[in-house]
């Protein structure tokens, strides 16, 4: 185990997988000089055939990654959540649909690393937390790490997986630290949630950057005599619903924390699963704590009102305890 910063863990995972398999290559905008922070020293180690700065053509290079994956490469693409919009056709019409549409002939071992840079005045065009939209479309595995160890282990699993994977990286976590296994084969399996803090009174399921707020809320609640269980699903597709349902069976209460917009969010999906499959365990209405259904305003005075935070989570927990 080594104390590692989240974004370094991503860098380490990338290097290890590129060393292990010469079919892995990476492309993106301004990656050779690591402008977004996760790709440093890749060029010097792997050279410019496997580390490619792309033109500003997201639709073009997302599609090129798909095509390269079809014929035996394992492309890793770095981009930003808000730039996915201009590449939607290639994500949806090709990456997601191709295997099924062609009756299982296509294999697409392609991984997209997408940073979500919200919460620091980036305003509406640079603050998207758009993973729920990709959950809605079958065909892509959706990964949302919240710790450095998971960021590394999930990315490595994604690169080795034979299906299109999108790793949504929460920019607010990039600077966080944690213990990361040194093992080259530290793989975190998809579809296995992690219970970050056990508890008995209420279940808090939190996604991506929502996790640190949930843990802070749980700590404060503990001092008030409320025992919260905090669960991080880690992957949304596939989703480990069993761990969530088992927890709700024990606690009878559910709060879902999701930095995405609240309508048709990951929180909506998790809430609906528990409402349908765990209804008889519930002792109080499910609470969704998600981003308000407005665009992301620039001013710090306004932006901080939008996302889930510790206080909103505590008040949602208290709502479930009152009923």
């Amino acid at each position: 185990m080594t104390q590692t910063v989240f974004i370094e863990a991503i860098n380490h995972a990338t290097k290890e997988e590129m060393r292990k398999d010469s079919n892995v290559f990476i492309m993106g905008e301004d990656i050779t000089l690591s402008v977004y922070g996760a790709t440093q020293d890749l060029l010097s180690e792997f050279g410019d055939t496997r580390v490619l700065d792309t033109p500003l053509s997201e639709n073009g290079f997302v599609g090129a990654a798909v095509g390269a994956s079809l014929v035996g490469k394992r492309p890793l693409v770095e981009t930003v959540s808000s730039f996915m919009w201009v590449a939607m056709d290639q994500f949806i019409s090709q990456a997601a649909k191709m295997r099924y549409m062609f009756g299982g002939q296509a294999k697409l071992p392609v991984t997209f690393r997408v940073s979500m840079l919200y919460g620091s005045g980036a305003a509406a065009h640079h603050s998207d937390r758009n993973y729920p939209m990709f959950m809605n479309m079958p065909g892509m595995k959706i990964i949302v790490p919240s710790t450095p160890a998971d960021a590394k282990g999930l990315l490595k699993t994604a690169i080795r997986d034979d299906d299109p994977c999108i790793v949504f990286e929460d920019g607010n976590l990039y600077g966080t630290r944690g213990e990361v296994p040194d093992d080259d084969d530290h793989l975190v399996p998809f579809g296995v949630a992690s219970i970050l803090k056990p508890g008995t009174d209420v279940t808090i399921v939190a996604i991506a950057g929502g996790v640190i707020h949930a843990l802070a809320a749980a700590k404060e609640l503990e001092s008030q005599g409320v025992s919260a269980e905090v669960i991080d699903p880690r992957t949304l597709v596939p989703l480990d619903k069993k761990t969530i349902l088992d927890s709700v069976e024990k606690t009878g209460r559910l709060v879902v924390v999701d930095p995405a917009h609240k309508v048709c969010s990951a929180a909506s999906e998790i809430s609906s699963i528990v409402a349908q499959e765990g209804f008889w365990s519930l002792q109080a209405p499910i609470q969704k704590v998600a981003a308000e259904q407005v665009h992301i305003p620039y001013s710090q005075a306004l932006e901080k009102l939008i996302y889930p935070d510790k206080d909103k989570i505590i008040s949602a927990v208290n709502n479930t305890l009152e009923s």
């Binding site: 079919n23 290559f25 055939t49 496997r50 490619l52 792309t54 033109p55 053509s57 639709n59 073009g60 290079f61 997302v62 599609g63 090129a64 990654a65 798909v66 095509g67 390269a68 994956s69 079809l70 014929v71 035996g72 490469k73 492309p75 056709d89 290639q90 019409s93 090709q94 191709m98 295997r99 099924y100 549409m101 062609f102 009756g103 299982g104 002939q105 296509a106 294999k107 697409l108 071992p109 079958p138 065909g139 595995k141 997986d161 034979d162 299906d163 998809f190 579809g191 597709v237 596939p238 989703l239 619903k241 999906e269 699963i273």
Partner: protein
């Protein structure tokens, strides 16, 4: 260019195979044997056949909604293609893709695309893989004059050029996108003129002449294999039929004249090649007739094959989503 006699004959055979396949498709479609959209390639056969015969089996192609000609030209199995149109389990995609998504990865057919322009980046990526791996294969993508206005095409041509990728961009200019003339939507005289913007050769070819298509593609492939980068080829051609089967019934008004259609039909790609082979003494009129009849017979057999194939079973709706499967939500 000295072209092997076997290839010259194969050109004729593949063109007849496409034409007869499409004639059969039109027949069974109007008889109601299947109802979904299909886009006939009749009139454009020389474009796919001439270009595909310049490729090796290990080279890749990707295409578009006008989708039957490309796989047949590359040597695809017409039984499996026809069964796919019928939505049957022996179809290329086990009934999950249909007319617009024929694919045969085993012989380098990376699939047709229903979204116009959408397969161009994908084919470019296959070229990128070839370059990264130091491989010998090239990638060729078919797209229409309409698709040439898609950003995906422009992004891909630029990408392929700056990275020197072994890609052949093959624009099938059949003069129209559904009912809209390319003259009204393309700002230059020829799609191939756009190659200049991407610093690659742009080659304007008579798309009714399979030998011209073949020669232009051989050159582009040669260039690509030598690591000299992509080429844009524009085949000037014409679609004889409606944009898609059944469209004539809903369309209000005309967008092209009968004289135009008749004029183009005088330069029928099969006729041109057949006359040439006869005049060069390579085939006799009887030989040509035999090829026409034999390919028609094969297409009739393909229809029988498709009719006799089973529909997929209900549980198959959940199959083929993942290479490493995950539980359904």
């Amino acid at each position: 260019m000295d072209i092997n006699k076997d290839i010259l004959v194969l050109m004729l055979e593949r063109m007849w195979l496409i034409r007869n396949f499409e004639l059969k498709v039109m027949e069974v479609h109007s008889a109601g044997e299947f109802a979904a959209a299909a886009h006939p390639y009749i009139g454009e056969e020389a474009v796919a056949v001439g270009s595909c015969l310049a490729l090796k089996d290990t080279d890749y192609i990707a295409g578009n909604h006008r989708s039957h000609g490309h796989p047949i030209a590359k040597g695809g199995d017409i039984n499996r293609a026809m069964a796919e149109l019928y939505g049957k389990v022996d179809g290329y995609c086990k009934g999950k893709g249909g007319s617009m998504h024929l694919a045969d990865f085993s012989i380098g057919i990376l699939g047709e695309s229903g979204i116009v322009g959408s397969s161009v980046p994908v084919a470019t990526g296959a070229g990128l893989a070839s370059k990264i791996g130091g491989d010998d294969f090239v990638s060729m993508v078919f797209f229409g004059d309409g698709a040439s206005n898609q950003g995906a095409c422009h992004e891909s041509m630029n990408l392929a050029s700056v990275w020197n990728l072994p890609v052949i961009f093959l624009c099938e200019n059949n003069q129209f996108a559904v009912t809209t003339s390319f003259k009204d939507t393309v700002a230059v005289d020829h799609v191939s003129d756009r190659a200049a913007a991407y610093n690659m050769p742009g080659v304007l070819v008579d798309g009714q002449d399979c030998i011209a298509m073949y020669e232009a593609t051989v050159q582009a492939v040669d260039r690509a294999r030598k690591g000299e980068g992509p080429t844009l080829i524009e085949g000037l051609t014409y679609r004889y039929e409606e944009h898609s089967l059944g469209l004539g019934r809903v369309r209000r008004g005309e967008y092209r004249s009968q004289e135009d259609i008749d004029e183009w039909k005088k330069r029928d790609p099969i006729h041109i090649h057949q006359e040439r082979l006869i005049s060069q003494g390579i085939l006799t009129t009887e030989d040509c007739k035999k090829i026409e009849d034999d390919t028609m017979k094969r297409c009739e057999d393909a229809v029988e094959f498709a009719r006799n194939s089973e529909f997929p079973k209900p549980e198959e709706v959940f199959e083929d989503m993942w290479a490493n499967p995950i539980p359904l939500p």
